[in-house]
Symmetry: C2
Subunit: 300 residues, 2 copies
DNA sequence: GTAGCCTGCTGCATATTTTGCACCAGCATT
DNA sequence: AATGCTGGTGCAAAATATGCAGCAGGCTAC
Protein backbone atom coordinates (compact mmCIF):
# COMPACT_ATOMS: atom_id res chain seq x y z
CA UNK A 1 0.00 0.00 0.00
CA UNK A 2 1.38 3.28 -1.12
CA UNK A 3 0.76 5.31 1.99
CA UNK A 4 3.00 2.99 3.96
CA UNK A 5 5.81 3.07 1.45
CA UNK A 6 7.95 5.43 3.47
CA UNK A 7 7.51 3.22 6.50
CA UNK A 8 8.61 0.20 4.50
CA UNK A 9 11.63 2.17 3.41
CA UNK A 10 12.51 3.07 6.97
CA UNK A 11 12.26 -0.57 7.91
CA UNK A 12 14.68 -1.42 5.12
CA UNK A 13 17.11 1.31 6.14
CA UNK A 14 17.04 0.09 9.71
CA UNK A 15 17.82 -3.45 8.61
CA UNK A 16 20.67 -2.45 6.32
CA UNK A 17 22.05 0.35 8.45
CA UNK A 18 22.68 2.70 5.57
CA UNK A 19 20.47 4.99 3.54
CA UNK A 20 22.49 4.64 0.36
CA UNK A 21 22.68 0.84 0.59
CA UNK A 22 18.97 0.56 1.26
CA UNK A 23 18.18 2.92 -1.60
CA UNK A 24 19.90 0.61 -4.06
CA UNK A 25 17.70 -2.33 -3.23
CA UNK A 26 14.58 -0.19 -3.05
CA UNK A 27 14.78 1.11 -6.60
CA UNK A 28 14.99 4.72 -5.46
CA UNK A 29 17.72 7.31 -5.18
CA UNK A 30 19.43 7.86 -1.89
CA UNK A 31 18.41 11.49 -2.21
CA UNK A 32 14.74 10.74 -2.30
CA UNK A 33 14.99 8.14 0.43
CA UNK A 34 16.96 10.51 2.60
CA UNK A 35 14.37 13.21 2.20
CA UNK A 36 11.51 10.86 3.03
CA UNK A 37 13.28 10.02 6.25
CA UNK A 38 13.94 13.65 7.05
CA UNK A 39 10.27 14.44 6.41
CA UNK A 40 9.08 11.73 8.78
CA UNK A 41 11.56 12.83 11.41
CA UNK A 42 10.28 16.36 11.12
CA UNK A 43 6.71 15.17 11.51
CA UNK A 44 7.63 13.19 14.58
CA UNK A 45 9.83 15.94 15.93
CA UNK A 46 12.49 13.38 16.76
CA UNK A 47 15.40 11.82 14.91
CA UNK A 48 14.68 8.22 14.07
CA UNK A 49 18.24 7.46 13.09
CA UNK A 50 21.55 8.40 14.63
CA UNK A 51 23.89 9.54 11.87
CA UNK A 52 27.25 7.86 12.07
CA UNK A 53 30.13 8.29 9.64
CA UNK A 54 29.57 4.73 8.51
CA UNK A 55 25.83 4.96 8.06
CA UNK A 56 22.82 5.22 10.32
CA UNK A 57 21.63 3.46 13.43
CA UNK A 58 18.22 3.49 15.08
CA UNK A 59 17.81 5.97 17.90
CA UNK A 60 15.78 5.09 20.97
CA UNK A 61 12.79 6.82 19.45
CA UNK A 62 13.50 5.00 16.22
CA UNK A 63 13.32 1.65 17.99
CA UNK A 64 9.85 2.46 19.23
CA UNK A 65 8.76 3.84 15.90
CA UNK A 66 10.13 0.91 13.94
CA UNK A 67 8.29 -1.51 16.14
CA UNK A 68 5.16 0.46 15.43
CA UNK A 69 5.88 0.33 11.71
CA UNK A 70 6.27 -3.42 11.70
CA UNK A 71 3.12 -3.77 13.71
CA UNK A 72 1.25 -1.62 11.23
CA UNK A 73 2.55 -3.47 8.23
CA UNK A 74 1.65 -6.83 9.66
CA UNK A 75 -1.72 -5.52 10.81
CA UNK A 76 -2.46 -4.37 7.31
CA UNK A 77 -1.72 -7.82 5.99
CA UNK A 78 -4.13 -9.25 8.49
CA UNK A 79 -6.82 -6.78 7.50
CA UNK A 80 -6.32 -7.50 3.85
CA UNK A 81 -6.61 -11.19 4.38
CA UNK A 82 -9.76 -10.64 6.43
CA UNK A 83 -11.19 -8.61 3.57
CA UNK A 84 -10.20 -11.26 1.06
CA UNK A 85 -11.91 -13.77 3.27
CA UNK A 86 -15.06 -11.72 2.93
CA UNK A 87 -14.93 -12.18 -0.82
CA UNK A 88 -14.58 -15.92 -0.30
CA UNK A 89 -11.08 -16.33 -1.60
CA UNK A 90 -8.53 -17.29 0.96
CA UNK A 91 -5.38 -15.46 -0.02
CA UNK A 92 -2.35 -14.34 1.86
CA UNK A 93 1.19 -15.21 2.73
CA UNK A 94 2.53 -17.18 5.65
CA UNK A 95 6.09 -16.83 6.87
CA UNK A 96 7.45 -19.56 9.11
CA UNK A 97 10.67 -19.82 11.08
CA UNK A 98 11.43 -23.33 12.23
CA UNK A 99 13.95 -25.82 13.46
CA UNK A 100 15.62 -28.03 10.92
CA UNK A 101 13.77 -31.13 12.04
CA UNK A 102 10.51 -29.71 10.72
CA UNK A 103 11.87 -29.23 7.22
CA UNK A 104 12.45 -32.89 6.56
CA UNK A 105 8.97 -34.13 6.34
CA UNK A 106 6.43 -32.47 8.54
CA UNK A 107 6.24 -28.95 7.15
CA UNK A 108 6.43 -29.80 3.44
CA UNK A 109 3.56 -32.20 3.93
CA UNK A 110 1.47 -29.77 5.98
CA UNK A 111 2.05 -26.98 3.51
CA UNK A 112 1.04 -29.23 0.63
CA UNK A 113 -2.17 -30.11 2.45
CA UNK A 114 -2.97 -26.50 3.15
CA UNK A 115 -2.13 -25.33 -0.32
CA UNK A 116 -4.28 -27.98 -1.92
CA UNK A 117 -7.23 -26.39 -0.13
CA UNK A 118 -6.04 -22.79 -0.60
CA UNK A 119 -3.79 -22.55 -3.63
CA UNK A 120 -3.69 -18.74 -3.45
CA UNK A 121 -1.83 -18.81 -0.15
CA UNK A 122 1.94 -18.60 -0.46
CA UNK A 123 4.60 -19.64 2.03
CA UNK A 124 8.06 -18.58 3.13
CA UNK A 125 9.89 -21.09 5.29
CA UNK A 126 13.11 -20.09 7.01
CA UNK A 127 15.46 -22.35 8.92
CA UNK A 128 16.18 -20.57 12.19
CA UNK A 129 17.76 -21.83 15.38
CA UNK A 130 15.99 -21.49 18.71
CA UNK A 131 17.16 -17.93 19.31
CA UNK A 132 16.84 -16.64 15.75
CA UNK A 133 13.31 -18.01 15.41
CA UNK A 134 12.09 -15.88 18.27
CA UNK A 135 13.88 -12.87 16.86
CA UNK A 136 12.12 -13.44 13.54
CA UNK A 137 8.78 -13.40 15.33
CA UNK A 138 9.63 -10.18 17.14
CA UNK A 139 10.64 -8.53 13.90
CA UNK A 140 7.51 -9.87 12.26
CA UNK A 141 9.57 -11.41 9.53
CA UNK A 142 7.86 -14.63 10.56
CA UNK A 143 4.23 -15.23 11.53
CA UNK A 144 4.74 -18.60 13.13
CA UNK A 145 7.67 -20.37 14.68
CA UNK A 146 8.05 -24.12 15.22
CA UNK A 147 10.93 -24.61 17.55
CA UNK A 148 12.39 -27.58 19.34
CA UNK A 149 13.38 -26.69 22.88
CA UNK A 150 12.77 -22.94 22.54
CA UNK A 151 14.46 -20.47 24.83
CA UNK A 152 10.99 -19.07 25.52
CA UNK A 153 11.56 -15.46 26.12
CA UNK A 154 8.55 -13.40 27.05
CA UNK A 155 7.68 -12.43 23.50
CA UNK A 156 7.16 -16.05 22.49
CA UNK A 157 3.58 -17.13 22.93
CA UNK A 158 3.18 -20.89 22.84
CA UNK A 159 0.17 -22.06 20.86
CA UNK A 160 0.85 -25.70 21.42
CA UNK A 161 3.62 -27.97 22.53
CA UNK A 162 4.26 -31.69 22.11
CA UNK A 163 6.86 -33.88 23.73
CA UNK A 164 9.52 -35.29 21.45
CA UNK A 165 11.68 -38.10 22.83
CA UNK A 166 15.20 -38.27 21.49
CA UNK A 167 15.76 -41.18 19.13
CA UNK A 168 18.90 -42.97 18.05
CA UNK A 169 19.34 -43.38 14.32
CA UNK A 170 21.58 -46.13 13.00
CA UNK A 171 22.07 -48.64 10.23
CA UNK A 172 19.61 -51.52 10.25
CA UNK A 173 22.59 -53.83 10.60
CA UNK A 174 23.91 -51.94 13.62
CA UNK A 175 24.73 -54.04 16.75
CA UNK A 176 22.35 -51.90 18.83
CA UNK A 177 19.46 -52.43 16.43
CA UNK A 178 18.22 -55.50 18.29
CA UNK A 179 17.42 -53.51 21.41
CA UNK A 180 14.02 -51.86 21.56
CA UNK A 181 15.09 -49.03 23.87
CA UNK A 182 18.68 -47.92 23.93
CA UNK A 183 20.66 -46.78 26.95
CA UNK A 184 22.99 -43.85 26.65
CA UNK A 185 26.00 -45.78 27.97
CA UNK A 186 25.64 -48.28 25.12
CA UNK A 187 25.87 -45.46 22.63
CA UNK A 188 29.20 -44.26 23.93
CA UNK A 189 30.89 -47.36 22.56
CA UNK A 190 30.22 -46.16 19.01
CA UNK A 191 31.27 -43.09 17.05
CA UNK A 192 28.74 -40.30 17.47
CA UNK A 193 27.50 -38.09 14.62
CA UNK A 194 26.03 -35.13 16.47
CA UNK A 195 24.22 -31.99 15.37
CA UNK A 196 26.05 -28.81 16.34
CA UNK A 197 25.46 -27.18 19.70
CA UNK A 198 22.83 -24.72 18.51
CA UNK A 199 20.34 -27.54 18.07
CA UNK A 200 17.86 -28.67 20.66
CA UNK A 201 18.71 -32.36 20.38
CA UNK A 202 22.37 -31.63 21.03
CA UNK A 203 21.38 -29.40 23.89
CA UNK A 204 19.44 -32.24 25.51
CA UNK A 205 22.26 -34.70 24.98
CA UNK A 206 24.85 -32.32 26.37
CA UNK A 207 22.72 -31.60 29.41
CA UNK A 208 22.26 -35.32 30.05
CA UNK A 209 25.98 -35.95 29.64
CA UNK A 210 26.95 -33.12 31.94
CA UNK A 211 24.64 -34.51 34.62
CA UNK A 212 26.81 -37.64 34.53
CA UNK A 213 29.99 -35.54 34.46
CA UNK A 214 30.61 -36.72 30.94
CA UNK A 215 31.43 -34.75 27.86
CA UNK A 216 30.20 -36.03 24.53
CA UNK A 217 32.95 -36.47 21.98
CA UNK A 218 31.40 -36.28 18.54
CA UNK A 219 33.24 -38.14 15.83
CA UNK A 220 31.27 -36.15 13.28
CA UNK A 221 29.56 -32.85 13.88
CA UNK A 222 27.33 -31.03 11.43
CA UNK A 223 24.54 -28.48 11.29
CA UNK A 224 22.82 -30.54 8.63
CA UNK A 225 20.67 -33.47 9.66
CA UNK A 226 20.62 -35.04 6.24
CA UNK A 227 24.40 -35.18 6.25
CA UNK A 228 24.38 -36.79 9.67
CA UNK A 229 22.00 -39.48 8.48
CA UNK A 230 24.19 -40.17 5.49
CA UNK A 231 27.22 -40.38 7.76
CA UNK A 232 25.45 -42.96 9.90
CA UNK A 233 24.48 -44.93 6.81
CA UNK A 234 28.14 -45.04 5.78
CA UNK A 235 29.63 -46.43 9.00
CA UNK A 236 28.58 -47.89 12.32
CA UNK A 237 28.07 -44.50 13.91
CA UNK A 238 25.01 -43.22 15.73
CA UNK A 239 23.12 -40.00 15.33
CA UNK A 240 20.19 -38.59 17.25
CA UNK A 241 16.96 -37.08 16.09
CA UNK A 242 13.44 -36.40 17.25
CA UNK A 243 10.59 -38.38 15.68
CA UNK A 244 9.17 -35.43 13.74
CA UNK A 245 12.55 -34.91 12.10
CA UNK A 246 12.85 -38.44 10.80
CA UNK A 247 12.18 -38.90 7.11
CA UNK A 248 9.35 -41.23 6.15
CA UNK A 249 11.72 -43.23 3.99
CA UNK A 250 14.13 -43.99 6.82
CA UNK A 251 13.96 -47.73 6.27
CA UNK A 252 14.50 -47.30 2.54
CA UNK A 253 17.78 -45.57 3.35
CA UNK A 254 18.91 -48.65 5.21
CA UNK A 255 18.49 -46.88 8.52
CA UNK A 256 16.38 -47.54 11.56
CA UNK A 257 15.63 -45.74 14.80
CA UNK A 258 15.10 -46.66 18.44
CA UNK A 259 13.95 -44.58 21.37
CA UNK A 260 16.64 -43.45 23.74
CA UNK A 261 15.93 -44.44 27.35
CA UNK A 262 14.02 -41.58 28.93
CA UNK A 263 15.83 -41.99 32.23
CA UNK A 264 19.02 -41.09 30.38
CA UNK A 265 17.80 -38.23 28.22
CA UNK A 266 14.40 -36.69 28.95
CA UNK A 267 12.12 -35.89 26.04
CA UNK A 268 12.35 -32.36 24.65
CA UNK A 269 9.49 -30.11 23.74
CA UNK A 270 8.51 -28.99 20.28
CA UNK A 271 6.57 -25.76 20.45
CA UNK A 272 4.47 -23.89 17.96
CA UNK A 273 4.40 -20.21 18.77
CA UNK A 274 3.72 -16.71 17.63
CA UNK A 275 4.61 -13.22 18.75
CA UNK A 276 2.84 -12.55 22.02
CA UNK A 277 -0.24 -10.41 21.64
CA UNK A 278 -0.13 -10.30 17.89
CA UNK A 279 -3.27 -11.04 15.94
CA UNK A 280 -2.25 -13.26 13.08
CA UNK A 281 -3.48 -12.90 9.51
CA UNK A 282 -6.36 -15.23 8.79
CA UNK A 283 -4.28 -17.57 6.66
CA UNK A 284 -1.51 -17.92 9.26
CA UNK A 285 -4.06 -18.47 11.97
CA UNK A 286 -5.82 -21.24 10.05
CA UNK A 287 -2.55 -22.88 9.12
CA UNK A 288 -1.55 -22.85 12.78
CA UNK A 289 -4.79 -24.63 13.62
CA UNK A 290 -4.08 -27.25 10.99
CA UNK A 291 -0.58 -27.82 12.32
CA UNK A 292 -1.86 -28.14 15.85
CA UNK A 293 -4.38 -30.75 14.79
CA UNK A 294 -1.70 -32.66 12.94
CA UNK A 295 0.64 -32.60 15.93
CA UNK A 296 -2.06 -33.75 18.30
CA UNK A 297 -3.11 -36.53 15.96
CA UNK A 298 0.42 -37.79 15.51
CA UNK A 299 2.00 -37.34 18.92
CA UNK A 300 -0.71 -37.47 21.55
CA UNK B 1 0.92 12.57 10.23
CA UNK B 2 0.67 13.10 6.53
CA UNK B 3 0.86 9.53 5.39
CA UNK B 4 -2.28 8.72 7.35
CA UNK B 5 -4.21 11.70 6.03
CA UNK B 6 -6.26 9.66 3.60
CA UNK B 7 -7.16 7.27 6.38
CA UNK B 8 -8.28 10.16 8.57
CA UNK B 9 -10.39 11.37 5.68
CA UNK B 10 -12.00 7.98 5.25
CA UNK B 11 -12.80 7.94 8.93
CA UNK B 12 -14.49 11.32 8.56
CA UNK B 13 -16.45 10.23 5.51
CA UNK B 14 -17.64 7.14 7.32
CA UNK B 15 -18.83 9.22 10.26
CA UNK B 16 -20.66 11.77 8.12
CA UNK B 17 -21.92 9.36 5.49
CA UNK B 18 -21.20 11.65 2.58
CA UNK B 19 -18.07 12.51 0.66
CA UNK B 20 -19.16 16.05 -0.13
CA UNK B 21 -20.21 16.81 3.45
CA UNK B 22 -17.01 15.42 4.82
CA UNK B 23 -14.96 17.36 2.29
CA UNK B 24 -16.39 20.63 3.57
CA UNK B 25 -15.20 20.06 7.11
CA UNK B 26 -11.86 18.69 5.98
CA UNK B 27 -10.79 21.77 4.04
CA UNK B 28 -10.49 19.86 0.80
CA UNK B 29 -12.56 19.57 -2.37
CA UNK B 30 -14.95 16.72 -2.76
CA UNK B 31 -13.13 15.89 -5.98
CA UNK B 32 -9.82 15.33 -4.28
CA UNK B 33 -11.40 13.46 -1.40
CA UNK B 34 -13.35 11.28 -3.78
CA UNK B 35 -10.24 10.41 -5.70
CA UNK B 36 -8.29 9.58 -2.58
CA UNK B 37 -11.01 7.12 -1.66
CA UNK B 38 -11.05 5.63 -5.13
CA UNK B 39 -7.29 5.23 -5.00
CA UNK B 40 -7.41 3.38 -1.68
CA UNK B 41 -10.22 1.19 -2.91
CA UNK B 42 -8.16 0.30 -5.95
CA UNK B 43 -5.19 -0.56 -3.77
CA UNK B 44 -7.34 -2.76 -1.60
CA UNK B 45 -9.17 -4.23 -4.55
CA UNK B 46 -12.45 -3.80 -2.71
CA UNK B 47 -15.00 -1.03 -2.36
CA UNK B 48 -14.87 0.51 1.07
CA UNK B 49 -18.10 2.40 0.64
CA UNK B 50 -21.41 1.45 -0.88
CA UNK B 51 -22.58 4.29 -3.09
CA UNK B 52 -26.15 5.28 -2.39
CA UNK B 53 -28.06 8.11 -4.03
CA UNK B 54 -28.03 9.90 -0.70
CA UNK B 55 -24.36 9.44 0.04
CA UNK B 56 -22.09 6.57 1.01
CA UNK B 57 -22.23 3.80 3.56
CA UNK B 58 -19.49 1.49 4.75
CA UNK B 59 -19.36 -1.86 3.05
CA UNK B 60 -18.50 -4.99 5.00
CA UNK B 61 -14.89 -4.66 3.90
CA UNK B 62 -15.07 -1.00 4.84
CA UNK B 63 -16.12 -1.88 8.36
CA UNK B 64 -13.03 -4.02 8.78
CA UNK B 65 -10.80 -1.46 7.17
CA UNK B 66 -12.18 1.42 9.19
CA UNK B 67 -11.60 -0.45 12.40
CA UNK B 68 -8.04 -0.97 11.27
CA UNK B 69 -7.71 2.74 10.50
CA UNK B 70 -8.90 3.76 13.93
CA UNK B 71 -6.59 1.26 15.51
CA UNK B 72 -3.67 2.64 13.53
CA UNK B 73 -4.48 6.22 14.35
CA UNK B 74 -4.75 5.53 18.03
CA UNK B 75 -1.63 3.38 17.93
CA UNK B 76 0.28 6.23 16.41
CA UNK B 77 -0.84 8.50 19.21
CA UNK B 78 0.44 5.99 21.70
CA UNK B 79 3.76 5.70 19.92
CA UNK B 80 4.14 9.45 19.76
CA UNK B 81 3.47 9.81 23.44
CA UNK B 82 5.97 7.06 24.16
CA UNK B 83 8.54 8.92 22.11
CA UNK B 84 7.75 12.18 23.86
CA UNK B 85 8.18 10.35 27.11
CA UNK B 86 11.67 9.45 25.98
CA UNK B 87 12.50 13.12 25.67
CA UNK B 88 11.25 13.66 29.20
CA UNK B 89 8.27 15.79 28.39
CA UNK B 90 4.94 14.21 29.07
CA UNK B 91 2.69 15.37 26.29
CA UNK B 92 -0.42 14.00 24.76
CA UNK B 93 -4.16 14.20 24.77
CA UNK B 94 -6.66 12.25 26.81
CA UNK B 95 -10.25 11.81 25.73
CA UNK B 96 -12.74 10.72 28.36
CA UNK B 97 -16.35 9.65 28.07
CA UNK B 98 -18.17 9.66 31.39
CA UNK B 99 -21.41 9.72 33.26
CA UNK B 100 -22.73 13.05 34.39
CA UNK B 101 -22.00 12.39 38.02
CA UNK B 102 -18.29 12.52 37.36
CA UNK B 103 -18.44 15.98 35.85
CA UNK B 104 -19.61 17.68 38.99
CA UNK B 105 -16.56 17.44 41.10
CA UNK B 106 -14.45 14.37 40.67
CA UNK B 107 -13.11 14.72 37.15
CA UNK B 108 -12.42 18.47 37.17
CA UNK B 109 -10.40 17.97 40.33
CA UNK B 110 -8.49 14.96 39.03
CA UNK B 111 -7.73 16.68 35.75
CA UNK B 112 -6.47 19.74 37.60
CA UNK B 113 -4.16 17.55 39.67
CA UNK B 114 -2.83 15.77 36.63
CA UNK B 115 -2.39 18.92 34.63
CA UNK B 116 -0.50 20.62 37.41
CA UNK B 117 2.10 17.87 37.07
CA UNK B 118 1.91 17.64 33.26
CA UNK B 119 0.72 20.94 31.83
CA UNK B 120 1.39 19.83 28.26
CA UNK B 121 -1.30 17.15 28.45
CA UNK B 122 -4.68 18.24 27.14
CA UNK B 123 -8.10 16.75 27.85
CA UNK B 124 -11.40 16.22 26.11
CA UNK B 125 -14.27 15.26 28.37
CA UNK B 126 -17.54 14.10 26.87
CA UNK B 127 -20.78 13.42 28.69
CA UNK B 128 -21.99 10.05 27.46
CA UNK B 129 -24.64 7.74 28.82
CA UNK B 130 -23.87 4.13 29.63
CA UNK B 131 -24.36 2.90 26.08
CA UNK B 132 -22.76 5.83 24.27
CA UNK B 133 -19.67 5.72 26.47
CA UNK B 134 -18.88 2.19 25.37
CA UNK B 135 -19.49 3.14 21.76
CA UNK B 136 -17.03 6.01 22.15
CA UNK B 137 -14.40 3.57 23.39
CA UNK B 138 -15.03 1.22 20.48
CA UNK B 139 -14.69 4.07 18.01
CA UNK B 140 -11.58 5.24 19.83
CA UNK B 141 -13.07 8.67 20.18
CA UNK B 142 -12.46 8.17 23.88
CA UNK B 143 -9.48 6.60 25.64
CA UNK B 144 -11.14 6.08 28.98
CA UNK B 145 -14.72 5.75 30.13
CA UNK B 146 -16.04 6.31 33.64
CA UNK B 147 -19.50 4.89 33.72
CA UNK B 148 -22.02 4.30 36.46
CA UNK B 149 -23.76 0.97 36.01
CA UNK B 150 -22.26 0.18 32.60
CA UNK B 151 -23.96 -2.23 30.25
CA UNK B 152 -20.60 -4.03 30.05
CA UNK B 153 -20.51 -5.42 26.62
CA UNK B 154 -17.53 -7.49 25.69
CA UNK B 155 -15.49 -4.60 24.35
CA UNK B 156 -15.51 -2.83 27.69
CA UNK B 157 -12.51 -3.77 29.80
CA UNK B 158 -12.95 -2.80 33.43
CA UNK B 159 -9.85 -1.30 34.99
CA UNK B 160 -11.45 -0.73 38.35
CA UNK B 161 -14.86 -0.56 39.92
CA UNK B 162 -16.16 0.95 43.14
CA UNK B 163 -19.53 0.57 44.77
CA UNK B 164 -21.66 3.67 44.93
CA UNK B 165 -24.71 3.60 47.20
CA UNK B 166 -27.65 5.70 46.12
CA UNK B 167 -28.16 8.80 48.24
CA UNK B 168 -31.17 10.98 48.81
CA UNK B 169 -30.63 14.70 48.37
CA UNK B 170 -32.95 17.16 50.06
CA UNK B 171 -33.17 20.51 51.72
CA UNK B 172 -31.53 20.68 55.13
CA UNK B 173 -34.94 21.61 56.50
CA UNK B 174 -36.61 18.60 54.94
CA UNK B 175 -38.74 16.38 57.25
CA UNK B 176 -36.62 13.34 56.34
CA UNK B 177 -33.37 15.07 57.20
CA UNK B 178 -33.46 13.85 60.79
CA UNK B 179 -33.14 10.23 59.74
CA UNK B 180 -29.64 8.90 59.20
CA UNK B 181 -30.68 6.23 56.67
CA UNK B 182 -33.77 6.69 54.61
CA UNK B 183 -36.23 4.00 53.56
CA UNK B 184 -37.65 4.04 50.09
CA UNK B 185 -41.25 4.00 51.27
CA UNK B 186 -40.69 7.23 53.17
CA UNK B 187 -39.54 8.90 50.00
CA UNK B 188 -42.74 8.13 48.17
CA UNK B 189 -44.63 10.61 50.33
CA UNK B 190 -42.72 13.47 48.74
CA UNK B 191 -42.45 14.78 45.21
CA UNK B 192 -39.59 13.08 43.39
CA UNK B 193 -37.13 14.90 41.14
CA UNK B 194 -35.61 12.08 39.12
CA UNK B 195 -32.91 11.86 36.49
CA UNK B 196 -34.19 10.54 33.17
CA UNK B 197 -34.23 6.84 32.47
CA UNK B 198 -30.88 6.71 30.66
CA UNK B 199 -29.07 7.29 33.93
CA UNK B 200 -27.75 4.60 36.20
CA UNK B 201 -29.29 6.01 39.37
CA UNK B 202 -32.71 6.04 37.78
CA UNK B 203 -32.11 2.55 36.49
CA UNK B 204 -31.40 1.31 40.03
CA UNK B 205 -34.43 3.09 41.42
CA UNK B 206 -36.71 1.75 38.70
CA UNK B 207 -35.44 -1.76 39.23
CA UNK B 208 -36.02 -1.51 42.96
CA UNK B 209 -39.49 -0.14 42.41
CA UNK B 210 -40.42 -2.80 39.92
CA UNK B 211 -39.37 -5.48 42.39
CA UNK B 212 -42.06 -4.10 44.68
CA UNK B 213 -44.52 -3.85 41.78
CA UNK B 214 -44.35 -0.10 42.05
CA UNK B 215 -43.80 2.49 39.39
CA UNK B 216 -41.98 5.67 40.32
CA UNK B 217 -43.92 8.78 39.47
CA UNK B 218 -41.47 11.63 39.07
CA UNK B 219 -42.84 15.08 39.76
CA UNK B 220 -39.83 16.50 37.98
CA UNK B 221 -37.66 14.70 35.49
CA UNK B 222 -34.47 16.02 33.95
CA UNK B 223 -31.27 14.85 32.33
CA UNK B 224 -29.35 17.49 34.24
CA UNK B 225 -28.29 16.80 37.79
CA UNK B 226 -27.63 20.41 38.64
CA UNK B 227 -31.18 21.29 37.69
CA UNK B 228 -32.50 18.48 39.87
CA UNK B 229 -30.55 19.77 42.85
CA UNK B 230 -31.88 23.25 42.30
CA UNK B 231 -35.39 21.86 42.05
CA UNK B 232 -34.95 20.13 45.38
CA UNK B 233 -33.60 23.30 46.92
CA UNK B 234 -36.74 25.11 45.78
CA UNK B 235 -39.37 22.82 47.27
CA UNK B 236 -39.67 19.83 49.57
CA UNK B 237 -38.90 17.38 46.84
CA UNK B 238 -36.27 14.63 46.88
CA UNK B 239 -33.67 13.72 44.33
CA UNK B 240 -31.16 10.91 44.21
CA UNK B 241 -27.49 10.88 43.48
CA UNK B 242 -24.38 8.81 44.07
CA UNK B 243 -21.71 10.14 46.42
CA UNK B 244 -19.18 10.88 43.70
CA UNK B 245 -21.73 13.06 41.93
CA UNK B 246 -22.45 15.26 44.92
CA UNK B 247 -20.87 18.68 44.82
CA UNK B 248 -18.48 19.57 47.63
CA UNK B 249 -20.52 22.64 48.42
CA UNK B 250 -23.76 20.72 48.99
CA UNK B 251 -24.27 22.20 52.44
CA UNK B 252 -23.62 25.69 51.16
CA UNK B 253 -26.52 25.21 48.75
CA UNK B 254 -28.81 24.54 51.69
CA UNK B 255 -28.96 20.86 50.79
CA UNK B 256 -28.00 17.70 52.58
CA UNK B 257 -27.83 14.04 51.76
CA UNK B 258 -28.58 10.71 53.43
CA UNK B 259 -27.89 7.17 52.36
CA UNK B 260 -30.82 5.26 51.01
CA UNK B 261 -31.40 1.96 52.81
CA UNK B 262 -29.44 -0.69 50.96
CA UNK B 263 -32.15 -3.30 51.45
CA UNK B 264 -34.38 -1.07 49.35
CA UNK B 265 -31.98 -0.03 46.61
CA UNK B 266 -28.70 -1.89 46.28
CA UNK B 267 -25.56 0.11 45.61
CA UNK B 268 -24.58 0.56 41.98
CA UNK B 269 -21.15 0.18 40.49
CA UNK B 270 -19.00 2.92 39.06
CA UNK B 271 -16.52 1.50 36.61
CA UNK B 272 -13.43 2.85 34.96
CA UNK B 273 -12.80 1.13 31.67
CA UNK B 274 -11.06 1.14 28.35
CA UNK B 275 -11.45 -0.62 25.05
CA UNK B 276 -10.58 -4.27 25.53
CA UNK B 277 -7.13 -5.17 24.29
CA UNK B 278 -6.15 -1.64 23.45
CA UNK B 279 -2.82 -0.32 24.64
CA UNK B 280 -3.45 3.18 25.88
CA UNK B 281 -1.20 6.16 25.20
CA UNK B 282 1.18 6.80 28.04
CA UNK B 283 -0.67 9.87 29.27
CA UNK B 284 -4.05 8.14 29.33
CA UNK B 285 -2.57 5.17 31.07
CA UNK B 286 -0.99 7.28 33.82
CA UNK B 287 -4.12 9.31 34.25
CA UNK B 288 -6.10 6.11 34.64
CA UNK B 289 -3.70 5.04 37.39
CA UNK B 290 -4.19 8.34 39.15
CA UNK B 291 -7.97 8.04 38.96
CA UNK B 292 -7.84 4.51 40.29
CA UNK B 293 -5.76 5.61 43.26
CA UNK B 294 -8.16 8.46 43.95
CA UNK B 295 -11.18 6.17 43.82
CA UNK B 296 -9.58 3.62 46.09
CA UNK B 297 -8.56 6.30 48.56
CA UNK B 298 -11.99 7.84 48.68
CA UNK B 299 -14.33 4.89 48.45
CA UNK B 300 -12.56 1.85 49.85
C1' DG C 1 49.64 12.49 6.97
C1' DT C 2 47.25 12.58 3.14
C1' DA C 3 44.55 10.57 -0.63
C1' DG C 4 40.69 8.04 -1.54
C1' DC C 5 36.31 6.44 -0.28
C1' DC C 6 32.47 6.21 2.12
C1' DT C 7 28.76 8.53 4.63
C1' DG C 8 24.48 11.81 4.92
C1' DC C 9 22.93 16.02 3.12
C1' DT C 10 21.39 20.28 -0.10
C1' DG C 11 20.20 23.52 -4.47
C1' DC C 12 17.97 23.39 -8.52
C1' DA C 13 15.72 21.72 -12.68
C1' DT C 14 12.58 18.05 -13.95
C1' DA C 15 8.87 14.39 -13.38
C1' DT C 16 5.10 12.97 -11.13
C1' DT C 17 1.26 13.37 -8.42
C1' DT C 18 -2.48 15.80 -6.41
C1' DT C 19 -5.84 19.30 -6.62
C1' DG C 20 -9.71 22.25 -8.12
C1' DC C 21 -12.91 23.80 -11.59
C1' DA C 22 -16.56 22.76 -14.63
C1' DC C 23 -19.49 19.50 -15.92
C1' DC C 24 -22.00 14.70 -16.32
C1' DA C 25 -25.19 10.98 -15.02
C1' DG C 26 -28.16 8.94 -11.64
C1' DC C 27 -31.49 8.86 -7.99
C1' DA C 28 -34.90 11.19 -4.45
C1' DT C 29 -37.91 14.55 -3.40
C1' DT C 30 -41.17 17.99 -4.67
C1' DA D 1 -41.21 17.19 -14.97
C1' DA D 2 -38.18 20.18 -12.14
C1' DT D 3 -35.00 20.68 -8.58
C1' DG D 4 -31.44 19.30 -5.62
C1' DC D 5 -28.73 16.15 -3.96
C1' DT D 6 -25.30 12.36 -4.70
C1' DG D 7 -20.69 10.40 -6.60
C1' DG D 8 -17.71 10.45 -10.73
C1' DT D 9 -14.58 12.39 -14.82
C1' DG D 10 -11.52 15.47 -18.21
C1' DC D 11 -8.26 18.83 -18.12
C1' DA D 12 -5.19 22.50 -16.69
C1' DA D 13 -2.83 24.40 -12.64
C1' DA D 14 -0.55 23.81 -8.32
C1' DA D 15 2.02 21.11 -5.19
C1' DT D 16 5.02 17.53 -4.28
C1' DA D 17 8.58 14.11 -5.03
C1' DT D 18 12.59 12.86 -7.57
C1' DG D 19 17.22 12.78 -9.58
C1' DC D 20 21.56 14.89 -10.72
C1' DA D 21 25.57 17.21 -9.34
C1' DG D 22 28.16 18.59 -5.74
C1' DC D 23 29.04 19.62 -0.54
C1' DA D 24 31.26 18.65 4.16
C1' DG D 25 32.85 15.33 7.31
C1' DG D 26 34.69 10.95 9.15
C1' DC D 27 37.03 6.44 8.39
C1' DT D 28 40.73 3.65 6.23
C1' DA D 29 44.80 2.38 3.87
C1' DC D 30 49.01 3.34 2.18
Amino acid sequence: MRHLLTLRFIDAVARVGSIRKAAETLAITSTALNRRILAIEEELGVEIFERLPTGVRLSAAGEIFLHHIRQQLSDLERVKSQIDDLAGERRGHIAIACSQALLTDFLPKQIAIYRSAHPAVTFSVYLRDRVAAEKALAEMSADLALVFEPVERSEFQVLHSVQQPVCVVMKQSHPLADQSVIRMRDCLAFPLALPSTAYGVRHLLDMAARRRLLKLQPAIESDNFEFLRSAVAAEEALTFQIPIGLPANLEALGLTMRHLAEQDVPPGVLEVGQLRGRILPVAASRFAEQILRALILRFE
